[in-house]
């Protein structure tokens, strides 16, 4: 990666063009989910409701920024033979902080996310950014890179969960406020009339894959350079 070397020059303003690119690139053309194919596991499993997606995004953002910063600060101290284990320990400790915080302040959502908070540890985006970026770059560009990738991950998560929740349960949910249904009760198809039916398919896990597939399709239609051979 060429931006890696250029970002290492020291006398740069904090939000120089290079640093901004670190944030904006992962949002579309180098998106962790749709292009680099990292961090798919959690992206798909917790997108039934928007509130879970938002909580997951905030957790990943926290773990990535702190982790990238820690690894970047320690990068010259980590022996390369055991770097994977060091990285895993750093992520695992950060995830424990997130897990305990969620259990204390958002117990309902923590229960719904169940094992997926723990699985942030093996979220490939985080390990991937540690390996590809933080191990070779200064702390500040590493933070930028972490923010960019976490937001690139988060917007796909939130987009997928919006589609699934709006069509699947006719509602939108925000952490703290709970689920708000916007389809009037009278519209719903029941024994005595009504015309509207929720698309229950959307709540089933496989539909997350199809929604992400469609996002990938649209993205590659807009940017032909991303099209793969096979």
């Amino acid at each position: 990666m060429s931006e890696m070397q250029t970002a290492m020059k020291s006398k740069e303003p904090l939000f120089s063009k290079k640093n901004k690119k670190l944030i904006t690139d992962p949002l579309s053309d180098n998106n962790p989910i749709t292009i680099q194919v990292l961090g798919i596991c959690s992206a798909l499993a917790i997108t039934v409701q928007t509130q879970q997606a938002i909580i997951m995004f905030v957790s990943v953002l926290f773990v990535m920024v702190m982790g990238n910063l820690t690894i970047s600060v320690m990068r010259s101290l980590i022996p390369s033979r055991i770097r994977i284990i060091v990285q895993l320990v750093v992520v695992a400790s950060l995830v424990i902080i997130v897990d305990q915080t969620l259990k204390a302040f958002q117990p309902d959502i923590a229960e719904k996310l169940s094992v997926f908070v723990g699985l942030i540890i093996t979220n490939c985006i985080i390990m991937g950014r540690f390996e590809a970026f933080a191990m070779a770059n200064k702390p500040w560009p590493s933070i930028m890179d972490a923010v960019g990738n976490a937001v690139g991950y988060g917007w796909i998560l939130i987009a997928v969960s919006l589609v699934r929740e709006v069509f699947g349960s006719g509602a939108i949910s925000i952490p703290g406020a709970g689920q708000m249904k916007f389809i009037p009760e009278a519209w719903l198809m029941t024994g005595e009339g009504g015309f509207y039916l929720h698309n229950n398919m959307m709540i089933l896990p496989p539909m997350a894959l199809v929604v992400v597939g469609v996002i990938i399709w649209v993205q590659r239609m807009r940017n032909k350079a991303l099209i793969e051979d096979h």
């Binding site: 897990d99 894959l209 199809v210």
Partner: protein, 204 residues
Amino acid sequence: MDTLSIIVKAIFSENMIFAYFLGMCSYLAVSKTVKTAAGLGMAVIFVLVVTVPINYLLENFVLKQGALVWLGDEFAGYDLSFLSFIMFIAVIASIVQLVEMIVEKFAPALYGALGIFLPLIAVNCSILGGALFMQERQYSTIGEATAFAFGSGIGWFLAIVAIAAIREKIRYSNVPAPLRGLGITFIITGLMGIAFMAFMGIEF
């Protein structure tokens, strides 16, 4: 719950890939040919069957509330479950390393087949996922936990071999250009997931 029912449930109705999307990263990256997919699938079964029982022992004799009681009565109140993530991942990373060395020494043929995949597996979500589901579902014996690990591994193996076979064939079809590669793989996995939902509700 008897052992057979746990295995069947883990393979079909609670399939790691189609119901929980665990291990999707390697599932998507290493499913271009059936041969490599089968190699990775075998490695996942192997590592799951080794690590889940070890983590089960760790959970029940060290981490769970009151698990330390075998040290003496004054330890009965300790609850170390907040340490479980770091312990599980440490066990997995070191077992993978150990297994790699043992296999290299004593079974070079197997090492040739699994070798390059073993290090990848330490960060495969399905392995940590197996340990965390084992913790959440609280299997009553180590046999049940092992059965669950075996079933999950087989389910993962089936899923990756199936998608690799489909991807080998789909090369000859006229897929819309922007959907080629990743896009169509996602949608096919979705359709396979819907098909696998037919197994839901099967109980022995």
